[in-house]
Symmetry: C2
Subunit: 234 residues, 2 copies
């Protein structure tokens, strides 16, 4: 391969670095239990995440100005509660408390060691649709050793809009071909490759549990396909 070693690796986070589904479900379960109620926590997490793409669509299409993902998560939570007939059960303060579940998601087991190794030879940063606030708190919770926080907020738009990948490269004063996008989602890599970045796929076949229907393997011509972040570092 004639490509240079990347000077920076930027990462998708939800699914690629952290197991959002079981983490959110656990927080949902606790939240309801503490209030003497029960809920089917994994389907609740799935429904909450299910609102993610449509909520961003309005912003990507230009029909709504940029708002950070924390706000979209909050709005989506209200929608899920309403759909379950629980729309008036909890105060806004309680909903914000539950919303913070997204700030405490467990990293996949290979991430902290892999990122720590990779950081010795290159810049590492999230290129997530999560906000700076969310990514910062998530990193503190999980011990993710990012060099800086990049992603949607610095671009004021959402992936897979090309401006997000380009804004990350520009913020580092690097050319797209000097930067590698790492993701567990082929469609994220399609967009990154079109934007001129190098690409690496890392399968996370349990991200969606029994509902996982795609991204079991690389479906594009990516520069690297690895099983763990440690492998990327080698």
């Amino acid at each position: 391969m004639s490509k240079m070693n990347p000077k920076a690796y930027i990462f998708d986070v939800f699914g690629t670095i952290v197991d959002w589904r079981t983490s959110v479900a656990r927080k949902v379960d606790t939240f309801f239990s503490e209030r003497g109620q029960t809920v089917d926590a994994l389907p609740f997490a799935d429904a909450w995440r299910g609102q993610y793409v449509p909520a961003m669509a309005k912003i990507r299409s230009g029909n709504r100005g940029y708002v950070p993902l924390d706000v979209l998560h909050f709005e989506n939570l209200k929608q899920v509660l309403s759909d379950l007939g629980l729309g008036d059960k909890f105060s806004d303060a309680e909903c914000w408390q539950l919303n913070a579940a997204w700030e405490r998601l467990d990293p996949w087991p290979d991430c902290v060691s892999g990122l720590t190794t990779l950081k010795q030879s290159a810049i590492i940063a999230p290129c997530s649709n999560g906000s700076i606030a969310l990514m910062t708190r998530l990193a503190k919770y999980g011990g993710l050793p990012w060099d800086c926080i990049l992603g949607a907020e610095i671009a004021q738009n959402y992936k897979p809009e090309p401006v997000v990948y380009h804004a990350c490269c520009e913020a580092l004063r690097l050319q797209p071909q000097e930067v590698m996008m790492v993701a567990a989602h082929n469609d994220d890599l399609v967009a990154a490759q079109k934007a001129g970045l190098q690409t690496a796929f890392i399968p996370r076949p349990t991200e969606y549990g029994e509902h996982q229907s795609k991204d079991f393997e690389a479906t594009g011509d990516w520069d690297a396909v690895v099983s763990t972040i440690d492998e990327l570092a080698r």
Copy 2:
């Protein structure tokens, strides 16, 4: 004091965290030596830094759009070389190489340990006029364990404009009173206090060497005055 413990500490960097003057002078000395030339390195560093405030003034006044500090440093370097009658001595590539001196500045001795301790109980981030690229590389060089990189670039303006302090708070989803600005420069704290932040002064009496004329001590009613960052952590 009735104020709450800060949830985040944001730091001035040039002078407060890193000793830019002797670090830049050393790089200047090496750069000229490698080319069989000599230069008075400390005055060169002083002259280079001397262009900093006027270069930002055009942007703060709205007469020029935001450009990252890396570009201003480069333009300022060309000016300093020109003033010394060396305007045509070096290629642009060589000037960019020398410009990278600002990415390799030594932290004051208390910073890495102090920031590492502080990070256990709060978010820590630079609120510098340096760009994301510059702050990221500076952190890697000096081992500064920031949680994220905030400052001028996310505000697209320069301190002491209030928007810079406010943008840092907003990026963390915190209120100004939940954030403490830490600086070795009283005027930075004047602006931060006006913007509603808590303030801490840490004297760095050798920042400007024999030319230091101010900031030997706190001249405002700051929330904390400390000798080291470790002291702030305690």
